[in-house]
Symmetry: C2
Subunit: 201 residues, 2 copies
């Protein structure tokens, strides 16, 4: 039982790297067999289908990316600083599963394709939005963020800006787009969210 | 000869829709045969490989997207208004080849994969940057855009913002992310690029 769980976990880890780099369609059973050193039967004893393995691999890769991007954030009490810390992590920390952002990779491949994978990508996007909106709401409660600031808009700006810049940086093999976006988003957060000190208003 | 060219063109058109929706790896020869009503030999008489067909299909889809996004722009003389027109087209006009932005689709699939496809995606990104940077430079020449405005930064903001928002809109089946980004980028262009009238300074 323990050994079966270990094997299952190891298959998911290896598969996550393949799917995130090559995509669902670009990952063949032979690739999975080579990466896991298992035969077909050894893999499909643990999963009903390639789709089931791919969704578990996506959830694993997304959780690993989420943890990397949230590293140290709980120690930043101020909501504006915490969002800037998130942007900084996204730009500077490479998630452990290679191949770029699992959400963007899966969203782009599955938007015209696999329905189950797309549902997992949508759930990932929803949870990312929720983190940003909840951080904005908590910042308002504590008087760190303007009451008029818009959590939903902030989430769209951060997610779209970072994902688009990551696409450009990966394609051009340059961190310049990500760095440019970081500066812009920090300014955006300062100008649109940060509540001025009473003394200066 | 004329008929051969017609057939070649028709294969590229049909293949472009398939590759843009399903990806290079997700498009099988059987899909291409069904879409073109040709046998394997009928397709590969015109192309040396699936890769050659995919790169021609990418160039075709990218040119079609470019034309849709540039619709009417040459009639807008002011550089800031022209960039806002570009943003508007990107948000409102769906390119004729279905499946989303060919650049983003190919960039995401090929960043860890096919080298030839990646080279075509990089060239597309370069030409897109060039259009924005040249528009900013011309606007400076004509005194419409501040001399201190930064063309490279403007290109990064527009491309990353629009592509990221498109990914979110397609995944969530909502145009809200694109609409939010349009408002933000219009403000960005007004604040960072538009030269104030001498009377108001």
């Amino acid at each position: 039982m323990g050994k079966g769980e270990d094997t299952r976990r190891r298959i998911i880890e290896r598969a996550a790297a393949l799917f995130n780099q090559r995509g669902f369609e670009g990952t063949a059973l032979s690739d999975l067999m080579e990466a896991t050193k298992l035969r077909k039967g050894g893999i499909y004893r643990h999963f009903d289908s390639k789709e089931e393995l791919a969704t578990e691999a996506f959830d694993y890769a997304w959780e690993a990316a989420r943890q990397a991007r949230h590293e140290g954030l709980s120690e930043i009490p101020n909501a504006v600083e915490r969002l800037k810390g998130f942007v900084k992590n996204f730009v500077e920390v490479r998630p452990p599963v290679p191949g770029g952002c699992p959400l963007m990779n899966t969203a782009i491949e599955a938007d015209d394709g696999n329905i189950v994978l797309r549902a997992h990508a949508r759930e990932a996007l929803r949870s990312w939005r929720e983190f940003i909106e909840a951080t904005v709401a908590a910042g308002k409660e504590r008087g760190e963020i303007r009451v008029k600031a818009h959590g939903e808009e902030t989430a769209t700006m951060l997610i779209a800006g970072l994902e688009g810049a990551l696409m450009m940086s990966r394609l051009a093999h340059s961190d310049q787009p990500l760095r440019t976006m970081q500066i812009h988003l920090n300014e955006y957060l300062e100008k649109n969210l940060r509540k001025s000190e009473p003394a200066s208003s």
